[in-house]
Subunit: 354 residues, 5 copies
Amino acid sequence: MAKSSKMRSTKSGLPPGTPVHLGKQHSTHTEITWYRYNHDSLHRDTFIDQWPTGRNRDSDDLTWIHVQGVHDCGILTALGNDFDLHPLVIEDIANTHQRPKLEDYGDYLFLVVRQVVIRDGSEELFTEQFSVVVGPRFVMSFQEGRDNQLEPFQKRLDNSQSPMRSKGSDYLAYELLDFVIDQYFEILEHFDRIIDEIDDELEMSPSPLVLRKLHDLKRELILFRKSIWPLREVLNHLERSPTALILEPTRPFFRDIHDHTVTMFESLEIFRDLTGSMLELYHTTMSTKMNETMKLLTVTATVFLPLTLITGVFGMNFQHIPGIEWYWAFPMLLLTMGVMAGGMYLFFKKKGWI
Amino acid sequence: MAKSSKMRSTKSGLPPGTPVHLGKQHSTHTEITWYRYNHDSLHRDTFIDQWPTGRNRDSDDLTWIHVQGVHDCGILTALGNDFDLHPLVIEDIANTHQRPKLEDYGDYLFLVVRQVVIRDGSEELFTEQFSVVVGPRFVMSFQEGRDNQLEPFQKRLDNSQSPMRSKGSDYLAYELLDFVIDQYFEILEHFDRIIDEIDDELEMSPSPLVLRKLHDLKRELILFRKSIWPLREVLNHLERSPTALILEPTRPFFRDIHDHTVTMFESLEIFRDLTGSMLELYHTTMSTKMNETMKLLTVTATVFLPLTLITGVFGMNFQHIPGIEWYWAFPMLLLTMGVMAGGMYLFFKKKGWI
Amino acid sequence: MAKSSKMRSTKSGLPPGTPVHLGKQHSTHTEITWYRYNHDSLHRDTFIDQWPTGRNRDSDDLTWIHVQGVHDCGILTALGNDFDLHPLVIEDIANTHQRPKLEDYGDYLFLVVRQVVIRDGSEELFTEQFSVVVGPRFVMSFQEGRDNQLEPFQKRLDNSQSPMRSKGSDYLAYELLDFVIDQYFEILEHFDRIIDEIDDELEMSPSPLVLRKLHDLKRELILFRKSIWPLREVLNHLERSPTALILEPTRPFFRDIHDHTVTMFESLEIFRDLTGSMLELYHTTMSTKMNETMKLLTVTATVFLPLTLITGVFGMNFQHIPGIEWYWAFPMLLLTMGVMAGGMYLFFKKKGWI
Amino acid sequence: MAKSSKMRSTKSGLPPGTPVHLGKQHSTHTEITWYRYNHDSLHRDTFIDQWPTGRNRDSDDLTWIHVQGVHDCGILTALGNDFDLHPLVIEDIANTHQRPKLEDYGDYLFLVVRQVVIRDGSEELFTEQFSVVVGPRFVMSFQEGRDNQLEPFQKRLDNSQSPMRSKGSDYLAYELLDFVIDQYFEILEHFDRIIDEIDDELEMSPSPLVLRKLHDLKRELILFRKSIWPLREVLNHLERSPTALILEPTRPFFRDIHDHTVTMFESLEIFRDLTGSMLELYHTTMSTKMNETMKLLTVTATVFLPLTLITGVFGMNFQHIPGIEWYWAFPMLLLTMGVMAGGMYLFFKKKGWI
Amino acid sequence: MAKSSKMRSTKSGLPPGTPVHLGKQHSTHTEITWYRYNHDSLHRDTFIDQWPTGRNRDSDDLTWIHVQGVHDCGILTALGNDFDLHPLVIEDIANTHQRPKLEDYGDYLFLVVRQVVIRDGSEELFTEQFSVVVGPRFVMSFQEGRDNQLEPFQKRLDNSQSPMRSKGSDYLAYELLDFVIDQYFEILEHFDRIIDEIDDELEMSPSPLVLRKLHDLKRELILFRKSIWPLREVLNHLERSPTALILEPTRPFFRDIHDHTVTMFESLEIFRDLTGSMLELYHTTMSTKMNETMKLLTVTATVFLPLTLITGVFGMNFQHIPGIEWYWAFPMLLLTMGVMAGGMYLFFKKKGWI
């Protein structure tokens, strides 16, 4: 959860600008997929654990390089040199603890966002870094994990009717971003489902387990929020920044995903409010229940302690207890006790305690 | 409630820009009402589940097209093409999970607001999307549901004395917006009524049911707030934006509804504060009551346990208990016990516990 | 309280721009007082339920028209037409649910503030709308209620030495505003008094009544705050706006009342903080008291239950209970029980429970 | 505390611009100390309850007039006329309920700050108004109380080596401000000490007294904060405002005290956070203690009630109770009861309740 | 903790601009290390408790002067005079209660940050002031404590391949800042570890000790936050300020550490949220437990008090108690009591209390 700062200190003491892989290593290999395409043709190449430096990017066609696995700093540096990337860009790609951000290096834009996924069979959220470099005729994307989640996306690219094929690098970047952001909605639905579950449990029988669930939900909301919060600023910049890399016709598309993220943030706010409200409800329900319990206890004690005292009185072994020999004494006393109990019952009934 | 994100993910994986109806389908038909009017004349046509493309809009008269039901993407696309709308506009109209927004596409403004209604026989709030496209001589409005709530509005248009008849498309858009926003006041009164109810119940006998009511009220306030919150920004833009589509004389009217929404937001803030305050009151009342309960229990136990011990002492079967044969022993002991009980009563009375 | 939205919906469905009186009708008549004055002379006229249209305002003298009662839309419209007011201005004057605001219509300023009064014999706050129109040589003021609270103010105007007599319409407007804002300080003192009362009660004996008082105080603070909060912005505009209607020498006066309102807002913030703090104190005091109660109960039970068990043991009817015939058995047992009780007393004393 | 609005309403109804002393009268006399100095010479005069009008201020030397006691409006007006001060300035000096502010009247700056002092033998805070007028060659300072707290400051002025002697009126104003702000640090240390005390008490034995102390601390923090909060804005203006009265070389000094106040605000924020945190700790400690108490009670009742029932059973007077004549019956029963008690003891031990 | 204002008042009354060492004296000596280097050569000198004034800084080589220990105002003043520093700069270096800030004095930048360290064997945080002066060809750094934490940094400088050796004073300043900020990540990991510990304890057995730990954690988070919060503004200024002292190629590096601090702030926010959430969890767990305890008590009392009453009834010494001589009376009664107990057991079972 709060692991985001973990291992960060292993770098403390090293001179800045040294690309070091920080974070868990999610994949064993680095798989680079290289595309060069225009509206009519599309070439693809795949390289495992290597990058053949010198792949000329001076071409009118669009080049897209997708890298799975960012733990091998040598390959990243080679790629970076080929495309004249600033050393800090390579460092940020390798160090997977970045927050979403957009940096304009003049010749290219550097964009970091975070993918959020729920692993199968687990309820826990994981986040992975997704970095994109957008140049005039090339796009580079770097994914931290190894399962190629972009496969459906790549299929779309194969279709020559796809708008991606006829538009520029800015549109490709937009589609990549849209892909990542669409995944967030699954997480939102996951939260929505959990909130509904908890709300139902609260209505029926709030057990301490619900409490733990609520606590865990809160943690995950905090983590998710942290992963996507800076996106707002990033997308706002993409929509409005004066860079020539984003063409005018593409800007409405960035505005569109900007709108989506704003909707997401509002849903998150609502989830947070609801979580707080449910916690309050649990807490107050708890104290209402305790009140009920206390009332029962008090009624019990108030009814039975006096009666027990009376039996104690007549259980004493004094030799001279008036009326003890009277024939009707016992039934009369029972009757008295019954009347007392009934009176107290009515009293508590009237107070609304029973 | 938090359903706003529901089904959103069914679109995940699709290329962007594809108009897909997202959200519940509220109506079985798409009913398009077409008006062309000026101060003197008014023509009207109604089309069910179809749009006769090519209805020339090049006319000095004002054209208003009102669409009920937005699930049929084919019709929407046809309409959009006829009026040269951007594909993202059509997508946003069909996807009914938009937040209120205003987009300036140069030739026309695209405006999304949300209608909030209470269904008869239910206390639950529903929201529906209401989209408006404002062009130089035409207005298009899209309503998600099918009950034509605009009927009284349409009657007003029939009256040739109505200012709508002599003013431009911006004024018509203003009247449409005013119509939607006026409905919100009914919701506010609904909240007002519920808050009064709960406050009365709290004053009399706070039961756990009140708690649930408060929780539900909070949820609905959150939902309503989400639906109208972005309006502030939308109306602010309408009042001040440099677009030529809003004429100078119409701007004060937009400022007027801007003022109304600000009043609404303040009422909502107050409702939220009051809800919080009532929850606090409930909670503290609860713990005050528990305190009362505990005091009664404690008084009971403190009075009766010692007396019971005394009777126990003289109930023991020792053969030599001094004074046990004394004639006045029993009454004397009862007297002592009475004095003890009285003393404790006075003690607790002084402490203010009884 | 939250009545501000009440009745608002009765207007829903009506075309906008129709002046309709919304809100309670506070007066039975509309009383219009007309003044025309300069440094040397002052004319006054009073009209009940009528306005003699055509009273020429083209004069170098200053004209002040004060209207008590805003329920008669006919008279308001007549007045409005005489002075070329925008229909929305008349609508806003008649609809007494406006929030404080300042609108610059070019030829005149339109200003709405709210008077807050405590009715005699009641502790409840009422708010009434006070609207002012400031033109180059005229001022119009509209008061919702009928008791002429401006009387002392009008007397000041009779005095030809008063600065009002020699200054312009902007200064008259300033004096009217200053008059309304000075009344707020009485409300602040009212709150101050109530807070002191509650704080004293809390120190002595916090009863559940205090809780209700606190809750009511909170409601009134919320209402009052709502009535005056937008004033900040209004006065800021008056002080800085580029309008030629406010002369340079008058601006420091507006800055002065701006300062007063800022002080008021700070006092309100403090009242809110104090109310929250007192609620917290009440709550924690309550749970401290409950703790005390519980301790007494626990001590009682822990001391008497074991002793009662012992008497029970020797109260059993077994035929062979060792020592039961021993002469000193009873006193020895009492002694033992006394020692046990003393031991437990010391134990609880040491724990600080008694 | 919230007295700041007290008596303010006594002015309500008076025409604005009338200087009236509002607030407590702290001194019986008005003492005016007049200085005229340059680097080489220094003249001083003291006037009690009078101001010899006409003291020419047209001189190249610097004039400093320090006034103790602001209740005599006549003297203040005389002074004001001599130096051409705006009537609102005199009104603000006499009305000691001002919040800190800076007003630029062109020819001079008017500055209000608040002194905060702890009276000897009391733990309560008092605030007094300190007003400064800074002209091109003169400074006027007005202190509400009568104890001349500026004495050490005046001694510094006697020393001809002091930078005050060779710099202008802006530097003198800076030194006066610095003097007032340095006093705040004593208040901060006072708070710091109280917080440490309360924290220690909380660690040892949280008694209800701590609660009251915390509540009082909160009140004082609120009051102090109110007194100094607007300073931020004041100092920011002094540092950056375009006025020619503050010379360029003096501005870093104002930035320096601006930094000091920012540090102070941060300390105040921390104090507030800590107070909240301590209240929470108290509250939760309380409920932890209650839990402990309840556990003891429950253990006692659960152990002794069943045993008492058993003795009750064998204390009944039935003629045929099996085993009652058996010789070992009594010891066997005692043994059984011991085993039961031991079992329950172990059970609760395991549950961690004892 | 809140010691930051401690001793600050000892300066109150002194004229401003006097350099006085405020804060604890961390070292016994002042150790000055002087470097002059370019890409090819590096000279170093160390001075203990003295500064040989007049060390010419007019050289094309870069000069770095690192000072350990800031309690000796004489040495600091000598250094300041040598480099023409403003007296307020020297005062701020000696007074170790500064908040992080950046001041542009034209010829040089003055920068204050705070080092945060955990002392060995203690869990407490300490902060020390670290001041940097950046001139065109020189850098001066002042460290409050004496342990030379910069040693690894100095070694890096010895390496002539280090980018520091070939870049200017701005880059050296960047490396110094980066060094200080990298240390913060260790503190974040420390917090992370403590939060994990507390969360584990909460899951297992929340004891009151956890509460104290949470409280202490909150205090330390507040302190740490205070130390680093103003950094955001400082780094933002460094990245964007128009000063010529920061060269264009160095600015991305400052942006990089700006990003790091933003990440840190977000982690801190998360820590604060988590701490609040854990406190809530503790509190609610506590009240859930209390509820359990109360239920057990209530069940015990409700089962045993009535049964005890019954035995009391038949323990009374009346001479005529019907059925007392019946042979099966005792077993029948026991059976009845067993059935009653069983019934109540089932009742509570059904209510889910057992």
